[in-house]
Amino acid sequence: MSSILPIGPFHPALKEAAYIKLEVDGERVVGGDFKVGYMHRGIEELATRKTYHSNIFLFERVCGICNTVHSTCYTQTVEALMGIDPPERAKYIRTIVFEAERIQSHLLWFGVGMHEIGYDTAYMYMWREREHALEILESICGKRVNFGINTIGGVRRDITPEKQRLIKTKLDILERTIGKIGKILVEDKVLEARVKGVGVLSKDEARRLCVVGPTARGSGVDIDTRRDDPYAAYQNIDFDVPVEEGGDVLSRTLVRLKELTESVKIIRQATAKLPKGPVASESLPLPTVGEAFGRVEAHRGELVYYLRSNGTNFPERVKVRTPSVVNNNSILPMVVGETIADVPIILASIDPCFSCTDRVTVLDTGKNIEKTYSFSDLRRGRIK
């Protein structure tokens, strides 16, 4: 006999609102339903009413943790539409900011993941060390979140030699931190018991669900946009794409851990190779009539932007496909068969980000009535 255990819309394990209706038999999860859409903000519609330039700052606000990812992808798509190529130095700076943001995002994820299994000490430790990554970003961009570094045709701020030195010292500290995290992951037996063999997503299942990013690479699917379809300065930089075959939470964690090392490597190379020259194109043409398609490897997986232009200063249509849109589908196949205690860490292991659209459901537990209202009902004030 199974009963319903709701996870969400508001739950300590979730950092954003989503609703997972778990069917549980004792501690065992036997089924479920997954619902997002508590934070629909209408960004795509809003983007068609703003100019190409102001949209950079709008799309940075799609996500607070991976904001330069969005602005880089957007500006690259607009640049393709305009037919311009940003200066080399700008591309390198984009790469540095992109990877520094990956480091802070992954460290944030490690903290959250540790918190989900009750390891608050490791969580606090990782968030303390994350400050060093944020300081790198602050020194380059002047801000700790929503960096505002990208502009169409380049970047807005240059990296001075002093900043290069600061980046170097901070990277040394971060490298030591990464080593310690690796040690925690390998040596802690209780931690191992919680993450090994939990939430397995097989390679075939991963391919079938089209998951991206560390979720796919943790299941042995070797995809990475940075290597497969290089953008910014990635074609000039030597790095590896870590892949793990296990498919469990531990594999996804190890993929992220190795990515941290790779990111440090990439930033080191990019700062060393930083070419001379301007950081932004001087003249910007109006976008040509047509459409463009851009993709980058965000921290959670492949991020896709589609843009259609009608020749004016306003885009006609912008479509954003965030990596979580595809990764969220893998939650249910992973949690079914596991215990309730594993649900938060499995959920966290794909590093989810929720946004979509939804309706309102009214529950009357006394009379046992469940009724769903649509948006038009709400507008007409039909709810008593």
């Binding site: 009963s3 319903i4 255990l5 709701p6 739950h11 300590p12 394990a13 549980v24 004792g26 501690e27 540790m114 918190h115 989900e116 299994i117 009750g118 390891y119 608050d120 000490t121 490791a122 969580y123 606090m124 430790y125 303390r128 802690d188 209780v190 931690l191 018991a193 919680r194 215990t339 309730i340 205690a341 594993d342 649900v343 938060p344 537990t365 006394g366």
Partner: protein, 304 residues
């Protein structure tokens, strides 16, 4: 008349409710402070626990529509009463006010009640998180109560006595029991972690999994009573441990210092561990802790 006054003072002031709560509250703060400092945080001020109590007592207690009201009100009262009784019986220093010849058995029984109260609280609160929490509490209790009672009885069997005062006075003369029965002491200390709801065995109240576990639907005064019980636990359980294995003490100051040692030991274990899943925690107790307790228990029977 004098007896009644003595009884009331013993139950409500020293060493009962007021004293135990004050010391327990400070110990609980100490745990939180040490935890915060080791996690690179600042931590709460020393009066935080008491302010929390005042806040909870001044708030409305909501009893959900789908719960069974009477049992929901009674659960924290059971928990609190049993802990106050134990506190009153506990020898602080060498003398116990309400001690009697079989108080070890009564203490063991009474200290199981807070766990049972949690099970009741979760089951009657009408919340799915509560029922998951109470089923977890029940399974972890099955895991830890047996080694816990066995290791406590080891001491009793060694002396052929079930009086805590007798155990304390014996230790004052001929050395603490943790020297003689290190395995039982270790088993006992490990059992305290789930008893106090600490990591790695805090699965019944795992906040990231089942919100507040059995206490999810509790609020206001009723939650405040559970908080009082929690504060009492932070004094009563270390005090019981000190009396059983660490030689009690000749005076209250020394006694509190030893309790502090136990509190810090439990705090550090809590800080350095993630949370076990309930089946893993249960297996841990049966696989490692029960054999430890059994070895010393058998030793106390055959070769005291």
């Amino acid at each position: 008349m004098i007896e009644v006054i003595n009884l009331m003072v013993g139950l409500l002031i020293y060493p009962g409710l007021a004293f135990s709560l004050a010391i327990g509250g400070v110990f609980y703060w100490l745990y939180r402070k040490v935890r915060a400092r080791l996690q690179a945080r600042i931590g709460p001020p020393w009066y935080q626990y008491f302010m929390d109590l005042i806040k909870l007592f001044s708030k409305e207690s909501v009893i959900p529509y789908s719960s069974r009201g009477a049992a929901m009100v009674l659960a924290p009262i059971f928990s609190l009463t049993s802990l106050v009784l134990v506190a009153a019986m506990m020898p602080v220093g060498s003398e116990s006010i309400f001690g009697f010849d079989e108080d070890l058995i009564v203490t063991l029984y009474l200290l199981a009640i807070p766990g049972l109260a949690m099970i009741i609280a979760g089951n009657v609160s009408g919340s799915p998180y509560g029922s998951v929490g109470s089923s977890r509490e029940a399974s972890i209790m099955v895991g830890y109560e047996l080694p816990y009672v066995l290791s406590a009885l080891t001491v009793g069997f060694h002396l052929r006595s079930l009086s805590i005062s007798r155990i304390v006075s014996y230790q004052l003369e001929s050395g603490a029991f943790f020297m003689k029965y290190p395995l039982a002491t270790l088993a006992f200390l490990m059992c305290l972690l789930p008893k106090m709801g600490r990591r790695p065995f805090d699965a019944p109240e795992a906040d990231t999994e089942i919100i507040g576990g059995p206490l999810t639907e509790y609020s206001g005064l009723l939650l405040g009573l559970f908080e009082v019980a929690n504060g009492l636990k932070w004094f009563v359980i270390p005090a019981f441990t000190v009396n059983m294995f660490f030689g009690g003490a000749a005076n209250p100051i020394e006694f509190l210092a030893k309790c502090l040692g136990v509190v810090l030991f439990l705090s550090v274990l809590d800080i350095i561990h993630p949370r076990y899943r309930i089946d893993q925690g249960f297996r841990f107790f049966f696989k490692w802790i029960l054999p430890l307790a059994l070895i010393d228990f058998v030793r106390s029977l055959i070769w005291p």
